[in-house]
């Protein structure tokens, strides 16, 4: 097969049994890989009402046909499961080097079912696959775990693992690969921890076949062009934290738990500041020319010590502006803690933001937490992050997430998220299409399923008024469909979502790799199919319009100042149009005509 490896690994953790099965070509043709193929497998096989942290949940690691094929940024994978944070389908994406490793080891996907009695890790070396005792690393952080496993397998093994947070089933625990890359969102780390699966380690020496290498060679020219353009320079030199400048300038940097859209200390936690104070060098994921990774270290003799990667933009919002921390070193330390303990920085930030607001309101006090928790207190935040990861004291409750604590302490309106998952670093009152995106994303507060930054803020391909509902339903639908396809291919969103002609480019790459000619419309239709399948998955669990919500702060409290002053998110208006254009009924359920048109049984 061109693109796909043709083999799916199945690991039954209850029985300790490993089987290999041939990839169904029609599954590949209709759903591609990544998010698409995984949701189809789950719809067909998962016991829908299962406890996400129970043995019946399935955990899927899945790359795509374009992984390791020389196309732009061809080194990503997704972790797909039923989320313990939201109860919906979720797909968490990560880069680094691990995705390329399990692709070249020969597998399109690894599907875990059941639950191991004792902690184990999976060691894959090409066609040799075995479960190993993880007692040597259970309890250890992700950096230590990687070193231990490498000493037990091979020093060049790529490792994806959980830290104490996943072991303790923190609802926003992450799976960390290659020491500092994260499949962070939706609590995928908790699912892994509940299965007593500590890690997956891989070495792969296989090859990925492609139909038309000539077209793929063009990617090297494209990469060169991107590299020389401002966007490329921005990524390679400044990383995603450059984006703090853009967000602040547009009054959409979520600040103080989304109360505001401008962070006074923005210039202290942006890309330039990282270069000046903590950057060791830029670092790329496997196969990527954008090079946006930040390899950093905290200065000798400073208050905080440590070494690692990041922060990247979302963390600058979540553990920076969102909780009023304007000290880069404290923020960097929090990022390292989250990487090492295996926590999603974004929901950590949404939870801390809710807690700081609850504390300010007097709904929660020192008595419950153990210490004061005021806005901007980085040391208190650091202390709480450790407690969340270890499940110690108040950390156990905080580890249930922002929605849980907000409801428990009598102010559900202070949780800034949707369907139980915290938002990303884009304030919808200043870019309302993003609000529609958040409300309709399969897993709730999520930006990667169709980030509207290019059209709404950068005016690419055309200018849009970020404050009005005009054209937003159409745009969000198009972004969601395109993104669903890209995330099925096993590549990074960035080059395709950020370039104006990105959809055409990925269609051309997909055709060149697989040998199956696909136009832009073809790939959008596949994306639409995937998105509707996710919607259908959620529908079977009882999700519909009532869950496509945003907190009142976004829909009813006017933005305090700046470009978006006075604005709120006109969600209902956009939602009505969105459902209609999607071919869903007024309850947000795909009609049978729509499902039929998309070939969804």
């Amino acid at each position: 097969m061109n693109g796909w490896m043709g083999t799916v690994l199945r690991v039954d953790l209850t029985l300790g049994r490993i089987t290999k099965e041939a990839l169904d070509p029609s599954l590949a043709g209709d759903y591609v890989g990544g998010r698409g193929m995984a949701v189809k497998i789950l719809l067909d096989e998962l016991k829908m009402d299962c406890d996400p942290l129970g043995p019946e949940n399935m955990l899927i690691f899945i790359n795509g046909p374009l992984t390791v094929t020389g196309v732009l940024s061809s080194g990503r994978y997704m972790v797909v499961t039923k989320s313990p944070l939201t109860g919906t389908i979720c797909s968490s994406n990560s880069g680094g080097y691990f995705p390329a490793a399990f692709k070249t080891a020969g597998y399109d996907a690894v599907i875990f079912t059941g639950q191991s009695e004792k902690p184990v890790y999976l060691w894959i070396e090409n066609d040799r696959v075995e479960l190993r005792d993880a007692r040597s690393c259970w309890g250890r952080d992700t950096r230590e775990t990687r070193e231990i496993i490498r000493s037990e397998t091979r020093k060049d093994a790529c490792v994806a693992c959980i830290g104490p947070a996943g072991e303790n089933r923190v609802r926003y625990a992450a799976i960390i690969n290659d020491a500092a890359r994260a499949a962070a969102r939706s609590g995928v780390g908790a699912v892994m921890g509940a299965k007593h699966l500590k890690a997956v380690a891989v070495r792969g020496t296989g090859g990925v076949r492609v139909a038309d290498p000539e077209t793929l060679l063009k990617s090297t020219i494209m990469a060169d062009h991107i590299k020389k353009a401002d966007l490329g320079i921005a990524f390679a030199e400044f990383g995603t934290p450059l984006f703090v400048d853009v967000m602040n300038a547009n009054n959409i940097m979520p600040t103080k738990n989304f109360q505001e859209g401008f962070f006074e200390a923005g210039d202290e936690i942006n890309g330039a500041e990282i270069i000046d104070r903590t950057l060791v060098r830029s670092k790329a994921c496997y196969g990527c020319a954008l090079n946006c990774g930040r390899n950093t270290r905290l200065p000798e003799g400073g208050k905080y010590q440590g070494r690692g990667d990041g922060p990247e933009y979302e963390t600058c919002y979540a553990l920076g502006s969102n909780i009023m921390v304007g000290d880069l070193e404290a923020l960097t330390k929090m990022n390292y803690i989250c990487n090492e303990t295996g926590l999603d920085t974004m929901d950590a930030g949404a939870t801390l933001g809710a807690l700081m607001e609850l504390y300010e309101m007097g709904r929660i006090t020192e008595k419950e937490i153990g210490f004061p928790l005021v806005w901007g207190d980085a040391d208190a935040a650091i202390r709480l992050l450790y407690m969340i990861a270890s499940g110690e004291g108040f950390g156990r409750e905080a580890g249930m997430g922002g929605k849980y604590v907000a409801e428990k302490y009598g102010a559900p309106e202070v949780f800034m998220g949707s369907k139980g998952q915290g938002f990303a670093g884009y304030h919808p009152r200043g870019m309302v299409g993003q609000g529609l995106l958040y409300a309709t994303s399969p897993e709730g507060g999520n930006h990667t399923t169709g980030n509207t930054i290019q059209p709404e803020i950068n005016g690419i391909p055309e200018s849009m008024d970020p404050l009005s509902a005009e054209g937003k339903a159409e745009m969000v639908i198009r972004r969601q469909n395109e993104t669903a396809f890209i995330e099925a291919c096993g590549v990074c969103l960035f080059p395709y979502m950020l370039m104006e002609e990105g959809t055409g480019i990925i269609a051309a790459f997909y055709s060149a790799v697989t040998g199956m000619e696909h136009s832009e419309d073809d790939v959008r239709r596949i994306g639409e199919r995937i998105f509707n399948l996710e919607r259908e998955f959620n529908r079977r669990l009882g999700f519909d319009r009532k869950d496509d919500t945003l907190p009142g702060r976004l829909t009813h409290e006017p933005h305090p100042e700046g470009i978006a002053e006075g604005n709120v998110v006109p969600l209902e208006e956009m939602l009505e149009r969105y459902y209609r254009l999607r071919g869903w009924d007024p309850d947000g359920v795909p009609t049978s005509d729509t499902l039929r048109r998309l070939g969804i049984p």
């Binding site: 401002d230 921005a234 400044f238 450059l242 853009v246 979302e314 700046g562």
Partner: protein, 80 residues
């Protein structure tokens, strides 16, 4: 003469005129100068000045500058 404070974001910071200006610098222009004149003054092309913000509001290159204005110039950038 008018004095404005200019902050150049990301790669554009190479254009600061004073050494050590990392978060912004003051610059002097003729009265009646507009943003286009400021860009010329800094040697930044219109294409590279993707976004212009004056006193926290969106601006374009034709806008006249006044003493005390805080101007931010940003390149095309994205994140995630």
């Amino acid at each position: 003469m008018i004095r404005v404070t200019v902050t150049l974001s990301g790669p554009l910071r190479n254009h600061y005129r004073s050494p050590g200006s990392s978060k912004g610098e003051e610059t002097v222009l003729s009265p009646g100068a507009c943003v286009a004149d400021l860009l010329t003054h800094y040697g930044i092309s219109r294409e590279r000045a993707h976004m212009i913000i004056i006193n926290r509001r969106k601006a374009d290159i034709r806008m006249t500058l006044n003493s005390g204005d805080q101007v931010r110039i940003l390149p095309l950038a994205a994140g995630g």
